[in-house]
């Protein structure tokens, strides 16, 4: 009894939804061919390796689809291929996702680049210090600093940049004031930053030749629409796209999935090329049949994690009650890995001994389904029903919102001619919800 309990604990901990995998973790499963041939190393990475100039690329994916894991892999890959990578999570200290504007992002990039490059290169931060110095008096008025700064002390300057950047996030009341002061000067900040970057590139450590900035978690920026119908997303990624792209090094920005589905997507494509989207793992085909390769991958994710525990148990009969139980988990996840983790955890919570039974699995599914039932609002059942019938979505707020909440899932595959096909489905858990079934039968096939 004790042994088995312990095993369940190990299983519980192995399926932790909040931790991205570190690169090289044996639990990692390559899923590119069932995600529409999505290979971040190839798609984003090679673009960087091939270009002489500076690239600017966007990366999006559903919440919990494995973006951060992929970005960490990319970071390692790039580092192995001559790049110095500055990777940071924008919302940790700098950007408030509830109220974000372009200036905040630029400041965040400046701060992190300074922090990363100053100790490692011989780059001269003077242009940035000068810029800061020129802003000093107005910043003092905002009571952001009591320090006197004559533009020479780099350490002080760096601290002030950090303070500036974090103040935007930490002190909402000052945010607008700071932005007002700085907005007219962002072009000069960009200039100064670029001078710094170019200088840094001359003396990158370890014989690196390229500089890459990865700004993660910008996908969490909540869309805020003003009275004229413009959103801050438009402002950041479209209106200011020129400035975003002017950074004198390679950059990768994560973007909210809803931006990819917005009315602006064609403009976005014009500006950045095709944004990279990390779709769900495809486990069924558009026509509803099982897609074996994708399905097998999802099974593999579970099996690998379990194998790492060295349990000496047969996975399909001793860990799970039957092969069908394992399969059911995979199916109900819809190809979404975090969901898979949560389902298995939920099931294991219901048990003191192995195997994971049909009953426990049904319980986990019931609970998960209930959460989705609460997520969907009255008027949205019909929208979902239509998507289920047509496997297509429309580019409007309703659909975007449902994608954002993962009630709708996106899948991609390469057809027989090597063309990328994209289709959508309702989350498998939703299919059995009474309200959905009602709406579904009411929609004409």
């Amino acid at each position: 009894m004790v042994d088995e309990f312990d095993i369940l604990t190990q299983i519980f901990q192995a399926f932790e939804p909040s931790k991205p995998l570190e690169p090289g973790d044996p639990a990692y499963v390559m899923c590119e061919d069932v995600r529409g041939d999505n290979n971040i190393l190839k798609d984003l990475g090679n673009e960087i390796r091939r270009s002489e100039g500076s690239t600017c690329q966007l990366y999006a994916g559903h919440r919990g689809s494995g973006k951060s894991t992929e970005l960490l892999r990319l970071k390692q890959y790039l580092e192995e291929h001559g790049c110095f990578v500055v990777h940071f999570a924008a919302d940790a200290e700098d950007v408030d996702p509830q109220d974000a504007e372009y200036t905040d992002i630029l400041l965040a990039c400046t701060r992190h680049l300074l922090e990363a490059l100053l100790p490692k290169t011989k780059a001269d931060p003077q242009p940035l210090m000068n810029w800061l110095h020129d802003r000093w008096s107005s910043l003092k008025e905002l009571a952001l600093t009591e320090v006197s700064f004559d533009g020479l002390d780099v350490e002080v300057g760096l601290n002030e940049f950090i303070k500036l950047s974090t103040s935007i996030r930490e002190v909402p009341s000052l945010r607008q004031d700071i932005r007002k002061q700085l907005n007219p000067h962002t072009p000069t900040l960009l200039d100064a930053l670029n001078q710094f970057i170019i200088d840094a590139k001359r003396s990158l450590p370890d014989e690196k030749t390229k500089l890459v900035v990865i700004a993660d978690n910008l996908d969490r920026i909540v869309p805020i629409v003003d009275d004229d119908g413009r959103s801050n997303h438009d402002e950041i990624w479209i209106d200011r796209s020129g400035q975003l792209q002017e950074l004198a090094c390679h950059s990768i920005y994560t973007v909210p999935i809803s931006l990819i589905y917005s009315k602006q997507v064609s403009r976005l494509t014009d500006i950045y090329g095709n944004p990279q989207v990390l779709p769900m793992i495809m486990i069924k085909t558009e026509s509803g049949d099982l897609y074996q390769p994708g399905f097998d991958k999802v099974r593999e994710v579970v099996i690998r994690r379990l194998q790492q525990l060295n349990l000496n148990l047969d996975i399909e009969t001793e860990v799970f009650e039957s092969p069908e139980v394992l399969n059911r988990f995979c199916l109900m996840s819809g190809g979404h890995l975090r969901e898979l983790m949560q389902l298995i955890k939920e099931a294991s919570n219901r048990l003191d001994t192995l195997p994971i039974t049909v009953q426990a699995t049904r319980r986990a599914i019931t609970e998960a389904r209930d959460t989705y039932r609460r997520t969907v609002q009255e008027a949205e059942w019909e929208v979902l029903a239509h998507v289920a019938r047509t496997k297509r979505i429309q580019n409007d707020d309703d659909h975007r919102d449902l994608l954002f909440r993962r009630c709708l899932m996106e899948y991609r595959y390469l057809d027989s001619e090597g063309e990328m096909q994209c289709w959508y489905d309702v989350h498998p858990l939703i299919y059995a919800i009474a309200e959905f079934k009602e709406a579904f039968s009411a929609v004409q096939p």
Binding site: Q98, Q342, S348, N349, R350, E367, T375, Q377
Partner: protein, 493 residues
């Protein structure tokens, strides 16, 4: 493989509290380092759970963070906990305080049973954005299993507004109340229908109660629950909170469930009152008449209908309703008073006076009644009686500018110009912008042949309200003595 296995798609019936608790215990037990669990339950149940967990898991250090007021930043609160590095399990309760204090939530609560169609991104309780933003920091810096104890409304809110945070959960657990527990709660939480108690509560306490009822309604959704009392309570609470719309909706919910006579009557009546506050008079009338059908002996319903009809200018009908009210209760001075006003508006001054007499026989300290009766006397040209009444009104309310004013005019009718001017001066002392008093003085001075004074006052009056005063002055015979005066001519042009 059979993909359409019906077995799997059938939801299991809700887990028993015991089953649910065991699952929660296992989740807590098995968490090593950071973990995130959501538990939906009533506060009392929450405490029970904490106690039980402490007993069942003695090897874990369990702490409770009880939030009693709204906060913006949970991370800081947790960071400030003493010995936080030793805590294995941290229960957090009271998240709802940070949420329902929020403006749009107040509005949301007003539409309790209607699902709000869209949660917009504008205006999200700061605590939730804070959670969403800080989740990595929580994970990286706090090696504890966080267990959020929340009411149902909050869980839904978190799912929508802090989806990234919610998405990291290792489990979500629900402890629903059974029918008995809910009934128990209803009986002990408050006394339905005792609205006087609600009046004495502070606004925050009322919101508390509203929230509490919400939870019970939500809990009772899947059970045959007597929700009439709950909705009636909501109706009253919202009424006191000044949220007429929400109040009306709640009463309508009461009516929808076809309750007993008493509750039906209350609901129709109260709905009528709230509707008239929103000036939806026709609907209010209809509501009241429904109530009257159930209990024709409540004089107040007749009175209320009379009030509305008066407001709509339908004085004859109003009076017949007031009469009905008086038949049932002839000691309600208000009804006599309002009846008088309606009669006055119909030009039936003698009858109006009779009505006012009755009202004054019951209450002598309402200055308005004296004033109104005075006006009626005035219309009948019984000026001395009118002045007596105005004096009574003024005695009760010395700054009653209207009473001073009309009294002034009445003195004019009695030929007492000096006394009249005194009255107008009093008016202007109370309210310097009372242009009609200035106009009145102008008239008087003109009559007395003091053209300078007259022009000066008229000028001041016109400065405040040119249109009205010019119009009046053009045709006012009082100004005949100065009509040819060039200053007069320029003023009124």
């Amino acid at each position: 493989m059979n993909l359409d296995s019906i077995d799997w798609d059938e939801d299991l019936p809700p887990a028993s509290p015991e089953e649910e608790y065991q699952a929660l215990r296992r989740a807590i037990q098995r968490t090593d380092g950071f973990g995130l669990l959501f538990v939906q339950c009533a506060p009392a149940k929450g405490h029970e759970i904490i106690k039980q967990i402490k007993e069942d898991l003695p090897q874990k250090k369990v702490e409770v963070l009880s939030l009693k007021e709204p906060i913006r930043n949970l991370y800081e609160r947790v960071e400030a906990l003493p010995n936080r590095n030793e805590i294995d399990v941290l229960f957090i309760e009271g998240l709802e305080y940070s949420i329902y204090e929020y403006e749009d939530v107040k509005r949301h609560l007003g539409w309790t049973t209607e699902e709000i169609q869209s949660y917009s991104w504008k205006g999200v309780p700061h605590i939730l954005t804070n959670l969403n933003q800080q989740r990595e920091r929580f994970r990286d810096n706090f090696q504890a299993c966080f267990v959020f104890l929340v009411p149902p409304f909050v869980l839904k809110y978190v799912i929508h507004r802090a989806p990234d945070f919610f998405d990291w959960r290792s489990g979500a657990f629900q402890f629903r109340m059974d029918a008995d527990q809910i009934q128990h709660e209803i009986q002990h939480a408050w006394i339905p229908g005792d609205y006087r108690k609600y009046r004495n509560l502070s606004s925050q306490e009322r919101l508390d109660k509203i929230f509490h009822i919400q939870i019970l309604i939500e809990e009772g959704k899947e059970q045959p629950l007597e929700s009439v009392d709950l909705y009636a309570g909501l109706g009253d609470l919202f009424a006191f909170e000044g949220n007429c719309k929400a109040s009306i909706l709640s009463y309508e919910k009461v009516l929808e469930s076809d309750p007993d006579e008493h509750n039906k009557y209350k609901a129709w009546n109260n709905r009528g009152i709230e509707l008239s506050k929103l000036e939806r008079y026709e609907e209010a009338l209809s509501s009241f008449s429904h109530a009257a059908k159930i209990d024709p002996t409540d004089y107040r319903i007749w009175h209320n209908q009379g009030l509305i009809l008066s407001r709509l200018g339908r004085y004859k009908e109003a009076i017949s309703f007031f009469d009905e009210a008086l038949k049932l209760n002839f000691n309600n001075y208000k009804t006599w008073f309002k009846r008088g006003v309606a009669l006055y508006n119909l030009g039936k001054y003698r009858q109006a006076i009779k009505s006012y007499d009755k009202a004054l026989g019951l209450r002598t300290d309402d200055c308005q009644i004296w004033y109104n009766r005075g006006n009626s006397f005035g219309k009948l040209k019984q000026y001395k009686k009118a002045i007596k009444d105005y004096n009574k009104a003024i005695k009760l309310k010395p700054d009653y500018d209207n009473a001073w004013f009309i009294q002034g005019f009445t003195w004019i009718e009695l030929g007492q110009n000096v006394k009249a001017i005194e009255c107008f001066d009093r008016v202007l002392m109370i309210n310097p912008d009372y242009y009609l008093a200035l106009y009145g003085k102008a008239c008087l001075y003109s009559r007395l042949g003091q053209s300078d004074q007259s022009i000066e006052n008229l000028q001041q009056a016109i400065q405040i309200n040119a249109d009205e005063c010019c119009d009046l002055a053009k045709n006012d015979s009082d100004f005949d003595t100065i009509r040819d005066d060039p200053r007069f001519q320029t003023l009124i042009s």
